[in-house]
Symmetry: C2
């Protein structure tokens, strides 16, 4: 590749550098490892999968003015989050994340400095999780920044964690805290400035790869999913795939101090915050007898894991205790990406 690539100047845009210039610039700064035989720069990337392991693949789109607004997020956070939402899916299968492919549709007027910040954020999380950027596609976008990320990982075949293994009697656990991301988004939409500790949960979610891998290695999780659409919706997926019912107690949902404080003052926002999604925590079911092992894992990883309910037989449906302790039934309706 051409070494005479000019440095970014403040007013430089993609139209000056061109597609191949952009690819060359990205190529210069990425790491590799011995499992990537060919990275960026050929028709395909060529990578290895460890013997005995199966291939995990996930793909997410992040579209401007649908999934994010430029005025609410900085480009570093956007790059980070574009990787994070995919890595979270690998975590939910109990896998090790390995390779990332990036598709970017970019308005021609986009300053190169913005793209470099985006790559900084994306590569920071990749470095943290030993994930290699191996390829992708860049092109002009007629309207809005357009991000498509594919992440591949692997897992020993016998350790795959699906949504379909929940059994009546299982306890239901969730990692970390719920609602911080939705709270940040709610405040942003209302023109308020979220607290930093809340905003970071929305802008730079931490995929729970170590937790997912540890649970899979120990064979603890019967069913697992990451909380992206909202805990009710995502638990609904587990119930549908596992053909079981559940009872949860929303009073047990783990909340950060900031979220508790907010809901103390605005109790009518409770459902909106708790069901909002984008928590990227892991929601899983396990035999009740595993409670001590799960507590040990929680201590070892420095990440809270909270029991929030029980799996029931399918005929019980999906019911929950609300804030006042009243038992409610739900259809587990999730976020409809196409709804009005």
């Amino acid at each position: 590749m051409d070494k005479n690539i000019p440095n970014t100047t403040e007013n430089e845009t993609l139209a000056h550098l061109g597609e191949f210039g952009l690819i060359a610039r990205i190529q210069q700064r990425i790491k590799t490892n011995s499992q990537v035989l060919i990275g960026i720069g050929d028709d395909c990337s060529v990578c290895t999968i460890p013997p005995g392991e199966v291939l995990l693949t996930t793909k997410d789109l992040l579209l401007e003015d649908v999934h994010f607004r430029r005025e609410w997020t900085d480009m570093y956070a956007l790059g980070w989050k574009s990787a994070a939402v995919n890595l979270s899916d690998i975590a939910a299968m109990g896998g090790t994340a390995r390779y990332l492919h990036l598709g970017l549709g970019i308005p021609s007027h986009t300053p190169l400095a913005d793209l470099e910040l985006f790559m900084d954020g994306l590569l920071a999380l990749c470095d943290q999780e030993d994930v290699i950027l191996c390829g992708g596609d860049t092109c002009r976008s007629a309207q809005g920044l357009n991000i498509s990320v594919t992440v591949q990982g692997s897992v020993p075949q016998q350790e795959v964690c699906t949504r379909s293994g929940a059994r009546p009697g299982d306890a239901i656990f969730v990692s970390g805290t719920l609602g911080d991301s939705a709270l940040a988004l709610l405040q942003l939409t209302q023109g308020e400035k979220p607290l930093d500790e809340i905003a970071v949960r929305h802008h730079r979610p931490q995929p729970r790869l170590e937790l997912g891998r540890t649970l899979a290695q120990h064979g603890v999780a019967h069913a697992m999913i990451d909380v992206s659409d909202g805990i009710f919706s995502d638990l609904g997926h587990i119930l549908a795939c596992s053909k079981v019912g559940a009872e949860v107690d929303t009073r047990l949902f783990p909340l950060s101090r900031a979220a508790k404080n907010y809901l103390h003052h605005c109790p009518d926002r409770r459902a909106q915050v708790l069901r909002g999604g984008e928590d990227y925590e892991l929601l899983f079911t396990a035999a009740v007898e595993e409670q001590q092992l799960i507590a040990d894992i929680s201590t070892r990883l420095g990440l809270s894991i909270t029991p929030v309910g029980r799996i029931h037989p399918p005929e019980d449906g999906f019911r929950y205790f609300d804030h006042s302790g009243t038992l409610q039934h739900t259809s587990a309706g999730g976020f409809n990406h196409f709804g009005s």
Copy 2:
């Protein structure tokens, strides 16, 4: 999944059906095979890669009003082409295509019937090539249809065909014919109606998977690429990656009868048509002694393979005989996706 999914009616749009309804509908009609352990419907797909083979991955974006215009293409062709451009990359590495993941950003008002046609075209090519749709992401798009396809394949490690193996003295070959797709696009931009045999090359390109695999199995191709940006640009990639020069004779470029006829009447369009790209033919280099084997492969597959030049030492640069037989030098400038 819910079996009570309503049938498509003429005026039904995505906003009625919702994201999960769309996914369920797609899920109902796709095939699977024993190598797909988990397809659509979990956090990741779970697939196997044959022992001894390495993973190939390619990813392409197709954005409305950048890569395609709805008034110039029908939705079936768009689905077909979205798969084809990625499968062509697997072909260029000598691989077997296996799994496809689809990202679709869809304007809310899109008729479901359009999406079904899109899936018809995409799945028709997947079925032809034994590729399984394993997952992806669907969401609303604020503006324009937004397609992102990731295809995975595999190849025995010792048979990987890269861009970097061309050697001085190699002959340069190209499959099929060049320029038909660019001619169709040229005519569409000018409000002319291309001949069907030309239009089909633009709208429904055939990835040359069987040819790529056969060349790789026989160890024939020293370097290979698919012709997507245009033969000059794509040969330029081989030269840059292999650190060699080349001399080609444009008078040897294989043209269809329709393209020959057009260029006979409009000779000033020659460069535009021949360098236009989107041919999705395979361009490869091989030792001159393999000419007979290559001719045999061509006969067996019923696909022409034409020698168009020679690889030279790097100091010769990239030169070509133009239509009049004059030797020209080129910088092999490719299509700049961000240029004005």
